[in-house]
């Protein structure tokens, strides 16, 4: 128990100190997406799935946004720069925006 506590403290401290600000920005955005998805899921367990497409559209939009944010984080992390020689962080951000636009189109279509 003590070990877990100290390990987690160490993890949190290291995270706060070492992670660059841009990545923390993306991380907080991912936390926000996660919370939205959890709240939607709790609602559907209470209210049932009628209308089905509305729940699916909302939930899948949170999941997909989370995945896109994770991709952005991976591509803009300076430590991974060697794996992405042709993709600059700006390019990654532009891709992120474009994919989000497509996702929002699909969600608007499905939302009904």
């Amino acid at each position: 128990m003590e070990d877990i506590k100290s390990a987690s403290n160490h993890l949190v401290a290291s995270y706060i100190k070492e992670t660059p600000k841009s990545l923390k920005l993306i991380d907080s955005y991912m936390v926000y997406i996660l919370l939205t998805g959890i709240i939607q899921f709790v609602y559907v367990t209470i209210a049932g799935t009628f209308p089905n497409n509305a729940f699916l559209a909302g939930f899948i939009s949170t999941v997909a946004s989370f995945i896109l944010a994770a991709n952005l984080r991976i591509q803009t992390n300076p430590k991974n720069a060697s794996q992405f020689p042709t993709t600059s962080p700006e390019r990654a951000f532009a891709d992120f925006l474009a994919c989000n636009v497509v996702l929002h189109f699909a969600v608007a279509n499905f939302l009904g």
Binding site: K21, L35, I46, A47, V101
Partner: protein, 297 residues
């Protein structure tokens, strides 16, 4: 005198050409013969004599009914038959044909009730017999009601009549529409709608905690082209999101696609310039920090 004789001549000629006006059938002989050959009953009929029901003309299922007659016209009939019409509710009609010899005009048939039509076997019934003689040469066909006959049904294994289909009004069908699905209570749904927007507050809190520097804005203010491009970029992105919202509410697909085409072109163009500006700033920043590190080292 001449007129009268010519009229008489035409009438005679017409009679000769037209032929007889009705069928003349004579020597009608109806008899019931038992299986062993003995005659059970016999009637010699002359039109319009009828076998009445009082005379109890009856046949067992094993008997034969013999009919013979002579057609006295010069012409021979195409159809000569006896129609049996049952006198009960079913009113079955059974036609039994008689063969007429061309040479003599004599017609006859011998009806074996056991081997003939199935309808004779539905039980003991009374039938009205009618002799029907007809053909194209004679205008008026002969319909001679011969009388009544009782045919007894078979004693063993009587056939069963197929049930008659009774078409009548069926009970009315009342269509049950599926009841609408129950929607959740508005209060709960409203509460959760607000709850789902609350993580935005969490996001803003986390972002403010990060301590973001607004240095790029100062650089943008100095360079108006960059500022305009940035405004256009964010404006186009907001416009795209608004188009999606209106697509959800009321607009159909094709106007939406047109708007999206225009707005996405604008977004791509302005986005490229904005992001390239961001990249030059980042590279300058890293160069500066590299120089500082080098200096320190």
């Amino acid at each position: 005198m001449a007129k009268f004789s010519s009229l008489f001549l035409t009438a005679v000629l017409a009679a000769v050409v037209a032929g007889s006006s009705s069928w003349q059938v004579a020597d009608i002989n109806l008899s019931i013969v038992a299986k062993d050959g003995t005659k059970k009953a016999e009637h010699k009929l002359v039109y319009p004599k009828v076998i009445s029901s009082a005379e109890a003309f009856a046949a067992d299922p094993t008997d034969h009914l013999k009919l013979s007659f002579k057609v006295q016209n010069n012409e021979r009939p195409h159809q000569a038959m006896v129609r049996f019409l049952s006198k009960d509710d079913q009113a079955d009609q059974i036609m039994v044909a008689a063969s007429v010899k061309k040479a003599s005009g004599k017609g006859r048939f011998e009806l074996d009730f056991a081997k003939s039509h199935k309808k004779f076997k539905y039980g003991t019934r009374k039938y009205d017999m009618t002799l029907l003689v007809g053909g194209p040469q004679v205008e008026e066909s002969l319909q001679y009601a011969l009388g009544e006959i009782e045919v007894r049904g078979p004693t063993s294994n009587p056939p069963v009549r197929a049930a008659r289909v009774q078409y009548e009004v069926q009970p009315e069908i009342h269509h049950q529409f599926r009841p609408d699905q129950k929607l959740i209570n508005v209060a709960i749904s409203g509460f959760f709608s607000l709850l789902v927007l609350s993580p935005v507050a969490v996001l803003i809190g986390l972002w403010s905690q990060l301590g973001i520097k607004f240095e790029p804005l100062k650089a943008l203010a100095q360079n108006p082209v960059d500022l305009i491009m940035a405004a256009v970029f964010f404006g186009s992105l907001t416009g795209i999101e608004y188009v999606f919202y209106s697509y959800w509410t009321h607009v159909t697909l094709f106007p939406v696609l047109q708007y999206l085409g225009v707005l996405s072109a604008v977004a791509i163009a302005s986005g490229r310039s904005v992001l390239s500006a961001v990249q030059t700033r980042r590279l300058k920043r890293t160069e500066k920090s590299d120089d500082v590190n080098k200096k320190e080292n």
